[in-house]
């Protein structure tokens, strides 16, 4: 069970959190202007690396904040957590 350092609440057990997949996916500004392929890319294509992964987690049983984590998908080691849109975003 992972130990996740919520940027607000501190270290908490994995069971307090929910996972949100790859971080940094931004919704296209003008979806109508995209081709089907580009839209499919936004909808479905996600990085799925074996190794370092920047991903979103939500402290759903805690402060309900979404934040970022850099985690290794092979060792599960967490290199760090970061707030979104804030100055600590790496």
């Amino acid at each position: 069970m992972l130990l996740i350092d919520c940027p607000w609440c501190g270290e908490r057990a994995e069971t307090e959190f929910s996972y949100g997949g790859e971080a940094g996916i931004t919704r296209p500004k003008d979806p109508a202007a995209l081709s089907d392929a580009e839209w499919a890319d936004y909808l479905f294509m996600r990085n799925n690396p074996k190794g370092a992964h920047r991903e979103l987690w939500n402290h759903s049983q805690g402060c309900r904040r979404w934040f970022g984590i850099e985690r290794d998908t092979l060792t599960y080691r967490i290199a760090g957590t970061f707030r979104l849109h804030g100055k600590d975003e790496g």
Binding site: L3, A13, S18, P31, H85
Partner: protein
Amino acid sequence: MARQTNRLGSGGRIDRSRPLRFRFNGRDYGGYEGDTLASALLANGVRLVNRSFKLHRPRGIIGCGAEEPNAILQLGSGAGTLPNQRATQVSLYDGLEARSTRGWPSLRFDASSVNDLFGRVFSAGFYYKTFMFPQRWWDYYEAFIRRSAGLGVAPDRPDPDRYEHRNAHCDVLVVGAGPAGLMAALAAARSGARVILADQQREPGGSLVGSDLPIGGRPADEWIAAVVDELREFDDVRVLTHSIVFGYHDHNFVTIAQECGGDMRERLWRVRARQVVLAQGAFERPLAFCNNDRPGVMLASAVSAYIKRYAVCPGRRAVVFTNNDSAYQCALDLAHAGATVGALVDSRGSVSSELTDRVEAVGIPVLHGHIVTDVRGRLSVGGVRVARWNGDTDARADNSIDIRCDLLAVSGGWNPAVHLHSQAGGAIAWDERRHCFVPAESRQANRSAGSGNGRWSLADCLRDGRDAGVAAARSCGFDAAEPELPVVEERDETPLQPLWRVPAARDPDSCPKQFLDFQNDTCVADVRLAVREGYRNVEHVKRYTALGFGTDQGKLGNITGMAVLAETLGAPVASVGTTTFRPPFTPVSFGVCAGEGVGELYDPVRKTAIHEWHVSAGAAFENVGQWHRPWYFPRAGEDLNSAVARECLATRRSIGILDASTLGKIDVQGRDAVAFLERIYPHKVGRMAVGRCAYGLMLGEDGMVMDDGVMTRLGDRRYYLTTTTGGAARVLAWLESWLQTEWPDLEVYLTSLTDQLSTISVAGPNSRRLLEKLGCSIDLSREQFPFMSMRQADLAGLPVQLFRVSFSGELAFEINVDSAHALALWQTLMDAGREFEITPYGTETMHVLRAEKGFVIVGQDTDGSVTPIDLGLERMLAKDKDFLGKRSLARPDCVREGRKQLVGLLSADGRTVLREGAQLIEEPGAAHPVPMIGHVTSSYMSDCLGHPIALALVAGGRSRHGETIHASLGAGSIATVTIVPPVFYDPQNERQHD
């Protein structure tokens, strides 16, 4: 009752003042408090305890701990029975009953032991090579295979015991309370760190329990007691015994199963440790020689432990066979216990004279450069064959002599218990000097100490433990001093001679069986066969031969097996490696893993504030999400259908009342509330006037309908949304995620009011009169309070929000009230409604009423592949703005012809109620696969209309109104149906607008 013939007159950690009685295979025996089942059996001279899995060979107790593969017994009977208990780890208690799991008609005369005669046929992988012809016989073959497999029997009744979970945090967790673990714990505790020390045995001390070795000038037992006493003095130290650390998971999360006694049978400790010291000790390993599985062949350290801890000498005439120093102590212990030691057979050509002298001094002949090649006896050891040996594994053993004995104590060296280290992701390395795998680099915050770290001498174990404890405490930021080490005797050691497979008189493929995995009957020849057949990877060998697959998970024989594999491959052991160490370290009950979360606590039952009223009204409940919702309210003699018919008609004719509190409710406020909701919802949110309600659909980015509900504009910058019962949490999280991750610039706050507000829906032509009767602070007339609007009001003296929305098609009011008052309001409504024959209804009636109106239920009439257009709600999709999911609706598959669309269905015979889920086809009797054009999503008898109705999704359905198709009714029968528009009742919507 049998006499405890093997019990020594004195000594041991047993309490002779507390005799216990137990039963094994129908016979009564005696033992003492402090015995394990195994020690008590041995005390009573019981040799034969079980039969092996495949070959049904007679088997006896071989070890004294988690490594025991043979003494796997069934305990007790009835609901409290426990299958597959390892006798070496079961504490004896009064009245214990145990049975062997194999052996028919009896353990001594097992009919299936003929398997042993055909042992060669049952070679590795034999299942895969036969039972194929004729194909249809497989079922019989399989039934036979299944019957002959398996160990114990599962209980046939629910568990009478309880289990609990317990979370704990500590700075330093020490696993194992042997000398290394005790020193580690002491060092850490003295530094002020929070320490947990866990050991699976009933008392701390590890392999020192019962030992007479002097430590720091006093007997080991006293030293242990002093250390434990000191540890118990610290507030922040917890010493757990009977506690198996079974799993080392990610991020230093460690799980421990503690045996508790009483009706709380076991406790799961879920420990988050900052640092872990693993002082698990080491497992002695056996040697592979012919018939090394005969009852009476035991691990040397186990023999010593039985003598010292339990005052049981498992044999009278013993032979000791070793390739290392440690078994010399066993020979001494045996002699001390009064047994005759016929010989100490040491494969090594020369050994330190000090050691040899000490053994010879008590009259034990020592045979250096000798090996035991074979064992005589069948149900019990009768003697051993000993041969001279020059160290060449390929040589045939000859010049043998026979030595009579009833006990053979074996030591093939030691394997550090690297299990938890390895579970934690740590590397292990083959130590060329000590000939064993030792922990290498750790991947988590843990370190190993003691014999688990490849240290054999007591002095080394103590030092290693202390150092680990100090280092662990320091890593946690504590200023740990080094406790002084107790003085112990140190001796010179003669290195172990690597010996795994003992040469026999014949070659290893044709000699009598040399066992590696006793439980699965895996022999040296099987490993060799696997290699010959191409199963060369250690993992293939494991799976092909079942080596290490048993309930001891290879603790006894795996490493020996890997070494034999290496030898067969002609490769170094290091390159063969081990199989993966996985939790649990030893088997743990399902019950303890599940903890309290079973039965009524399996999943929370969410209840509305009115729940108890429903219960007393005799409601039948339905699970919706985690909620229990009234499904219908049967009166005496009514079934679902008749109750629902009554509830529906009452609502259509006068008033029905529904507890709709489970709807998700979200308060949306903030400067950018409009902008936000415009992006979420397909309709024009900003155009809504304050006080107006609108039906809102929520789409996923894939364009599919995700949830629906009513939204109400409460103010310029404030809205109130409802969601489906099941979708409440998901929708709130979804909205919040858009705000936080995508549009942080929007100032909008979402607050869940699902629990704060209870919702009571009153529907039916008399609903307005009812509210008026109760005293309502506002004008409820159609003109002043039109359909799809909302008002704050006082109702029956309570502040409420009134909504003129209708999910039934009738004139209806939804009343939001503070949950603290919901039950009171409900009762008030019921009282006042008596004159209108107000009728409470449940979800089933709600479904019928809404289906008559063609309103969909997301999740029932949709399934994640349905767009708003498919539902006929295209008009809700704003053209001149973007919203979530909009782009997806323009994808080729979403605009293609022939998508499934929502329609109504009428049975041609006017009687048949279609089955919900039934598939729709055009051509009955067509060949498989029959093309399906849709399916029935909702179907009910409409008593109000006098005929059944159904909703369905049908390919191109909207343009097919009036056409006839067919619904399959299971079991081959077919109903003919007509496609109609999905609104059956009051299509002009006059009633709800009333």
